[in-house]
Each structure stands twice: as structure tokens, then as C-alpha cells.
Amino acid sequence: MKNQIKILFPAILLLLGSLIPTAQAEGTRYEMRVDGLACPFCAYGIEKKFKAIEGASNIDVDLDKGLVTVDLAKGKQFTEDEMKTLFSDSGFTFRGMKTQAHE
């Protein structure tokens, strides 16, 4: 009986582990250079626009460095043209972006 438990317990753990989704899906972290970011209140439009995009999360704005970082779920991507429009609609100027994989 003790041996059976020894074998079954790790197997159950493995099974449960495969059923529980990971806290953070794999995807891409975008770091965007944006000009015109002077006040936090005015930057809220950026957060709202990204929140409306499915798969976008962890939106952050660094006003001093002019950086906006956003995580995007696996299988999705932002294009430069989309970002130019998004930031223009928010009242700012998009300058460029870098990407890196995130877990």
C-alpha cells in the first residue's frame, strides 16, 4: 500500500500541474519609446487603449524615460503602424519599439 501511494502521489501531482494554467502565459514584452509624456494624468489614455486590446497586460508608463511597456500574449503582435495610430489617438508621438520574450 505504501509503495502504491509513493507511485500514485507524484503522478497525481503531475496530472494536477498540467491542468493548472501557468500564472503568466508566454508571449512578448514590448518596450516602446514615446515622446510627449509629461504628466501622469494625461497618460491614462495610453493605459485605456492597451487595456482594450485582447492579450495585452502589465501596462506600465515610465514618464522620465519616455517608455511604455506592455506584455502581449503568445500568438499576437503589435505592428509599428498600429502603435503610431494608438499613441497618436492618445495624444503622444510613437518613436520606436523593442521586443523581448517574456514568461
Partner: protein
């Protein structure tokens, strides 16, 4: 005579209500700020103004919509409380278009044109019996630490039912802002403001004759504060008269105070 009084007090006391609330703009002057596309701004404000024996408080609600990232429009719904009469003020429609913007790291310079139409929709007791229009331009320099704004407004006061040409007004504003402690995006943020607001009113006229007790100029020095956290803002300030040159027997302003609560949705 009642119409004459209305025309003149209307011109004197309806000025602080002539500046719609616009995001990170000055309190009494106007800046070039608009709203992000499809954004909604809800603002609730109270202003109180006193000139001699006249005292008036206005409660106002404003709703602004971001049509594009550079163009916004909205509606203002005021309720006026005066010494004699209380009631709905004139509903106003306004719009602003930012025609120029230069962005760099932590800095935005921009300029905008704006208009506000104030048709005669107030309750009968508070009616000025005329439609007014404000046209203006604003420029702004907004950095992480310093702010500078300048604006010019021209108010075309319509002729009222009694045939009084109420006299147009011109308003000029110069504003400095200082953020002592630049904070992060989600942290509370405070900007201190100091405004210089000038107003000049042409004399009112009836049947081609100037009305003696009308027109002239006033200047105000106006300290204020702008406190925000993420999408919520509180703006407050006081206009302190520093000089006036009013024609005839007119009471100069004692003070004007304003506080606004603003949400970006």
C-alpha cells in the same frame, strides 16, 4: 431697467464659467489640452464669485468626448445660485482642436483653437436674453517639472431682447506651473499654478449710446493647485484682483474661487 442690470451683471459675473475644464489645463485660463480618442471626461465643479454686494455660486457638470486624439467637444450644464434667484444657467456647447503639437522626451508643446457657444437657455429669472460665443487660442509648454501656458479669448456678447449691445469682452491669461516632485505614472501628482488673468470689456450700448456703468478692465493673480492620481484630478484656485479700471459706478471683483473634480473614463 431689469434687462440693463441683467446685461451688466451677466457680463461681470459669468466669466469664470466661461472656461471649460480641460484635463491638465490651467484653472482660470485655457490650455491646449484635449482628450484621447473615444475618451470621456466627466467634471463636476463649484465656483463662487463676489463683486461688491453681488455674490454668485455656480455648480456645473461637464461632459467632454474625445473625437480624435486632437479634437474634443462637450457640454456644460450649470446651476446658478445668486443672492436673489437660483436656477439653471445657460447650457453651453464647446469644442477644442489642437492644431499643432511638438513632442520630445518628457515634454509636450502644443497649440489649440477653441470655441464655446452659450445660447440663452437659463431659467427665466437668470436669463441674459441673448446668445454668446467665445472664440480663443491657447499655447502650452508642458514638461516634467515646469509648465507655461498662454491664452487669448474673445467673448462676443449678443444683443439682448431690450436692444442692449452688452459689449464684447477679451480675456488674456499667462500661467506658470511647477511640479516640485515628479512622480511615477500611478502615483499621486501635484502641480502648483500661478496665473495672471486679464479681462477687458467694451462698454455696453443702448440705442447707439454708451452705458456709463459698464466696460473696463480687471487683472487677477491666481494661485492654484492641480492634484491627480491616475485618471482622477482635483483642480482648485482663487482669483485675487490686483488692478482694475472699471468705467462708471461698478463694483470691482472681490475674489473668485473655483474647485473641479475630474474623471477620465
Amino acid at each position: 431697467m431689469k434687462s440693463t442690470t441683467r446685461a451688466l451683471t451677466g457680463a461681470a459675473l459669468l466669466l469664470s464659467a466661461s472656461s471649460p475644464v480641460w484635463a491638465h489645463d490651467p484653472i482660470f485660463g485655457v490650455g491646449p489640452h484635449v482628450l484621447f480618442k473615444d475618451g470621456m471626461e466627466v467634471s463636476l465643479g463649484i465656483d463662487n464669485e463676489s463683486a461688491g454686494k453681488e455674490d454668485e455660486t455656480t455648480l456645473s457638470a461637464e461632459l467632454t468626448w474625445g473625437i480624435t486624439g486632437d479634437w474634443a467637444a462637450g457640454i456644460e450644464l450649470p446651476y446658478r445660485i445668486t443672492d436673489g434667484e437660483d436656477g439653471a444657467g445657460d447650457v453651453a456647447l464647446f469644442s477644442k482642436y489642437r492644431f499643432w503639437r511638438r513632442d520630445s522626451l518628457g515634454l509636450q508643446e502644443s497649440a489649440a483653437l477653441f470655441a464655446k457657444w452659450i445660447p440663452d437657455t437659463a431659467s427665466e429669472a437668470l436669463s441674459k436674453q441673448a446668445d454668446d460665443l467665445i472664440l480663443g487660442a491657447a499655447w502650452g509648454y508642458e514638461g516634467r517639472r515646469q509648465y507655461r501656458w498662454a491664452s487669448l479669448r474673445y467673448r462676443i456678447n449678443g444683443e439682448n431682447d431690450a436692444g442692449i449691445d452688452r459689449g464684447d469682452r477679451m480675456l488674456v491669461d499667462f500661467v506658470l506651473g511647477w511640479r516640485p516632485d515628479p512622480r511615477g505614472y500611478r502615483e499621486p501628482d501635484t502641480v502648483w499654478l500661478l496665473e495672471l488673468n486679464g479681462e477687458y470689456g467694451r462698454q455696453a450700448r443702448l440705442n447707439g449710446q454708451d452705458l456709463a456703468d459698464s466696460g473696463g478692465s480687471e487683472w487677477f493673480l491666481s494661485p492654484g493647485i492641480f492634484w491627480t492620481q491616475r485618471n482622477f484630478a482635483i483642480k482648485a484656485g482663487v482669483q485675487i484682483p490686483v488692478a482694475d479700471n472699471l468705467r462708471g459706478n461698478q463694483a470691482a471683483s472681490d475674489y473668485r474661487a473655483q474647485i473641479d473634480f475630474e474623471w477620465h473614463l
